[in-house]
């Protein structure tokens, strides 16, 4: 049997990068079709393709790493770099929305009444639900750290409990935000206040949902004994992403909810 004389992972040919790119193309053009031509066929098809791609690509990575042993420490190092760089790109993404918020709010234009919040906009009280949401995310950061340590210390049951607590807190956050969205007196069409508020918090909420799903996948994998006490990068990546989501919320809370009210 031929041995590979290097520590790298030469991935077998795979269709998922192509289907992923196709779905991304169809998502963007489909969004334009939906908004401007009121046709949702393209975006609907692209959603299906995207979900199929995600499921099969990540299933393959799990097979390659957990079952076939391709994830040597060198490969794992590259995966770490990859996740870190991805999170950096997400920071850049949110930076733009914070820029636009401060641009609009630091010198409010005359048609808003030269005040922030603009005339006619009643902001949410930051010390009601938003404060609770802050406690939820900070608390979930503690529980996910507990999960990590118990994974490293081989206490399986504790890890399952702590990760479940983290996921439940994430779901609770999303439900509360949804409730807030329905119970606000302002909406997205209410000038720059509404745009900046709902786009920034909306994208953040989307990232919370993604993070919760990522953590849920980790829980399922833990229940199937995929992770070892010293090799569990998938979980670490999920935990990093979750901390990132928490930090973005803290910035949102302080800038938009608190200072902006």
């Amino acid at each position: 049997m031929t041995k590979q004389m290097h520590a790298f992972h030469m991935v077998n040919p795979s269709p998922w990068p192509l289907t992923g790119a196709a779905s991304a193309f169809m998502l963007t053009s489909g969004l334009a079709m939906w908004f401007h031509k009121h046709s949702n066929t393209l975006i609907f098809l692209s959603m299906i393709l995207m979900l199929l791609t995600m499921y099969q690509w990540w299933r393959d990575i799990t097979r390659e790493g957990t079952f076939q042993g391709h994830h040597t420490s060198l490969v794992q190092k590259s995966l770490r770099y990859g996740m870190i760089l991805f999170i950096v790109s997400e920071v850049c993404f949110f930076f733009g929305f914070f820029w636009t918020f401060y641009h609009s709010s630091l010198s409010p234009s005359p048609d808003l009444g030269m005040m922030w919040p603009p005339k006619g906009v009643i902001p949410l009280d930051p010390f009601e639900i938003p404060l609770l949401n802050t406690a939820i995310l900070l608390g979930s950061g503690v529980s996910v750290t507990w999960a990590h340590h118990s994974l490293m210390e081989k206490t399986h049951k504790d890890m399952v409990i702590s990760l479940s607590i983290t996921i439940i807190l994430g779901i609770y956050f999303t439900l509360l935000q949804g409730m807030e969205y329905f119970n606000s007196t302002f909406n997205i069409s209410d000038n720059a206040y509404g745009s900046t508020f709902f786009v920034a918090t909306g994208f953040h909420g989307g990232h919370v949902i993604i993070g919760t799903l990522f953590l849920t996948v980790c829980l399922l994998r833990q229940l199937m004994f995929h992770f070892t006490s010293s090799h569990h990068f998938g979980f670490e990546a999920a935990a990093w992403y979750w901390h990132f989501v928490d930090v973005v919320w803290l910035f949102l809370f302080i800038s938009i909810y608190w200072w902006g009210s």
Binding site: E128, L132, A135, E153, K154, L169, Y181, T185, S189, S230
Partner: protein, 125 residues
């Protein structure tokens, strides 16, 4: 069985009390494992116990306190603002691609007015 723990005695006692009162003695016992060799990616002995204690004594009670605070504060009920047809509110340059094109995604009939005014006639809310 005495295990060298780095956290102060106070946390240990408090942790025991919390664990007992929450009926978690069984889990608590499982957590008190030795770390084998030094192969645990830098995890110190018992550090998961520290985070467990923090979860149940700080994180979750903190959430509980904020829940109580939020509940007490919102008992007053939502007051909706008077409808004034400001041009910078309820902007409709393009219609929404759902429903009748005039309602936002999270539209609330009681709290959100349409460009023409509130949908429900009655004023006493």
């Amino acid at each position: 069985m005495k295990i060298g723990i780095r956290i102060p005695e106070l946390y240990f006692d408090l942790g025991c009390f919390v664990m007992a009162s929450l009926g978690l003695r069984r889990i608590f016992g499982v957590v008190r494992t030795f770390s084998a060799a030094a192969a645990d990616n830098g995890a110190h002995k018992g550090s998961s116990r520290t985070w467990k204690i923090l979860t149940f004594t700080v994180a979750l009670p903190g959430v509980g306190v904020c829940m109580l605070n939020a509940y007490l504060k919102t008992r007053g009920g939502h007051e909706r603002p008077e409808f004034i047809p400001y041009p910078h509110m309820r902007i409709r340059n393009v219609s929404f691609p759902w429903g009748d094109g005039n309602h936002t995604l999270f539209h609330n009939r009681h709290l959100n007015a349409l460009p023409d005014g509130y949908e429900d006639e009655s004023e006493d809310h």
